[in-house]
């Protein structure tokens, strides 16, 4: 989420432009936000700088002074156990990409259904979901492991994907968004024109819900990308590890082996790129306002 902070600072700074009296008041929030941005960005800056340092420079030279070891670090990381790092990166992309996509689909279906249809037990169902939002996924990891062990699915890609497909928060968000973005009139109009329910959902409601679903996708992508405990419990084969777990094994090598700090830092640095790229690419979908002009108000 830290990558959102600088964007938030933008509009606040813009709002300061106005009458002189208001400008002085806006100074405080702007400063606060700048401080917040600094707080979030400083560790990132540390990772960026530290990844350029060689092992001997890492702890001995000035913290924010770039070192000379970036190329070596990169080639060492790629060479570590025949390039297993890139495999972890691919695994993370698979878990997060496919998982977030499936999760968004499930959220879209159920969110739309909960928002548009009236059926018995709808509110109960929704309340159960809300309870699920409050439940931290971490405490479910071990029961999920025991369950998947019964199905003989542990230590497989499915073991990590399946539990993350249903995201209560995603469903919740999709329902709220569908209720606000898909007016009952539009659905009614579709029915009058003779469209089936599937057609109404896929052709009318889905485009209207798109900005909300993009949010769900991003949230879920980041959540899966950063998830640690679930894959940690589920997987034992390090060829299937995501990046979080892989880097952890580099850190915890046993008492008599020094941790591979330079590799971990360089690895963490590279692992940020896909997330930043994703945010930059998908950001523009947020500004799409499909609602405008759909209904006369």
């Amino acid at each position: 989420m830290s990558s959102l902070a600088p964007h938030k600072a933008g509009p606040a700074a813009g709002a300061a432009r106005g009458p002189a009296r208001r400008r002085r008041i806006a100074l405080v929030p702007t400063l606060t936000l700048l401080l917040g941005a600094l707080y979030c960005l400083l560790p990132v800056a540390w990772v960026v700088v530290a990844s350029t340092k060689s092992g001997s420079e890492l702890f001995s030279t000035f913290t924010f002074w770039p070192g000379t070891g970036l190329a070596d670090n990169l080639s060492d990381l790629s060479a570590y156990r025949d390039g297993v790092y890139w495999r972890w990166m691919g695994n993370s992309a698979l878990y997060a990409g496919l998982g977030a996509l499936l999760s968004t689909c499930v959220s879209a279906f159920s969110g739309y259904a909960l928002a548009v249809y009236r059926f018995r037990g709808r509110e109960t169902l929704f309340n159960v979901l809300l309870a699920g939002v409050l439940m931290p996924p971490v405490i479910l990891a071990i029961p999920q492991y025991l369950l998947l062990a019964k199905a003989d699915l542990t230590d497989s890609y499915l073991a990590v994907l399946l539990p993350q497909i249903l995201s209560p928060y995603g469903v919740y968000l999709a329902r709220i968004y569908a209720a606000a973005a898909v007016p009952a009139d539009v659905v009614e109009a579709g029915r009058m024109d003779g469209a089936g329910e599937w057609r109404i959902f896929s052709r009318v409601a889905l485009p209207m819900m798109a900005p909300g679903l993009v949010t769900v996708f991003l949230f879920q992508f980041v959540a899966i990308w950063n998830n640690f405990l679930l894959p940690y419990i589920m997987l034992s084969d390090d060829e299937k590890f995501p990046i979080t777990l892989g880097l952890y094994t580099l850190l915890e090598q046993g008492a008599n082996t020094p941790a591979l700090y330079t590799l971990v830092i360089t690895g963490a640095f590279l692992a940020v790129f896909p997330l930043v790229a994703l945010f930059l690419v998908i950001q523009r979908f947020w500004s799409l306002d499909l609602l405008s002009g759909a209904v006369k108000s």
Partner: protein
Amino acid sequence: MPYTKRRRLVSSAVAVALGATALAACGSSSDDGETQAGPVSLTYWTWAPGMDKVVDLWNEGPGKKERITVTVKKQASGDTLVTKILTAHKAGKAPDLVQAEYQALPTLVSNDALADIADSVEDAKGEFAEGVWQQTTLGTDAVYAVPQDIGPMMFYYREDLFKEYGLSVPATWEEFAETARKLKKAAPDKDLTTFSANDSGLFAGLAQQAGARWWTTSGDKWKVGINDDATRKVAEFWGGLVEEGAVDNQPMYTPAWNKALNTGKQIAWVSAVWAPGTLTTAAPDTKGKWAMAPLPQWNEGESSTGSWGGSSTAVTTDSGHKEAAAKFAAWLNTDADALNALAKESGIYPASTSAQLSGAFAGPPEYFSNQPDFYEKAAGIAKTTAPSAWGPNVNVAYTTFKDAFGAAAKNKSDFTAALDTMQQDTVADLKKQGFGVAE
């Protein structure tokens, strides 16, 4: 796992339909493995780097002959791995072989996760020092693991700086304290060493040297002696040094600590046999300036040391091929070629006494090229390792150590009070877990 496809389908359906109630039925699938007619394949959870290459030696050599193939699944070390093994064991899916630190063995055994392999590894016993082997039997007739590496503790010091300040290598802890004070007088900005409240293993090792027995059994009850006289002596000693400012109170393994070692701000380190590896990365500029000596003693003329680190290879109760797994564990930790490869690939210091002076250990580590008899001395020190006594909740004791001693070291306050906290919390946790505790 000899699951057929149909079986898998059935069990998936059962799992989906019954959820958690179906948890009990799984363990049966592995029983048909004890007859070693066909080829056997084993999985092995380990964190040692390069272990896959060592295991390849087995798979291509003796393993091929015996038709036992081992697959390494590399893990992260530490207490979290114990949790992971126990979780997998609950589902009946623990791997055949696991790497486990000595202090984790009682936890694993009390959860019935480790198999007794006494019959299969009998011949290996002679390869190890008695104090080391005793850790894998937990004082019973059973054998729960084969020792792999050990970490006998030693005293490391900057030879050049000791000469410069006219210090001599302390033979007793009393002399150690004197040395620290003398250095402080000669160079107030320097410290002999630091007391790190982050490293429970170090404190446990120091207490072990002093003769502490933290966990013992009397009848079918556990007895916790974390605040026994020996440990109290150690805590008071270090607490006193920290309080008067004779040694530093900052944790180890931080950038600041690396820097202190590298620049000569700290000129000695109480550590273990694996220190050369750590010093190579922590203090690269001081290579060749360090020397190693036995740990200072509590009484003149004694020779005893503690251990910091070390691990073993164990066979789980979930394994369908316990005998084959035990055969591999014994080979890995006693075969000369295997131990050579372990030293080369994983950088371990072997528990096997015959390997401590051969192969990679014939000459000194590169960092200590100035001390040609490094490993001869180390092997001698390793023989003097005091017996250790681990219990089923070492992790709890270690966590409270970090909290209580961390605060005490920072505030330079009473270490014995911190020790009492550690004792109380450990006893309370044992009781909570349902163990009988003798007061």
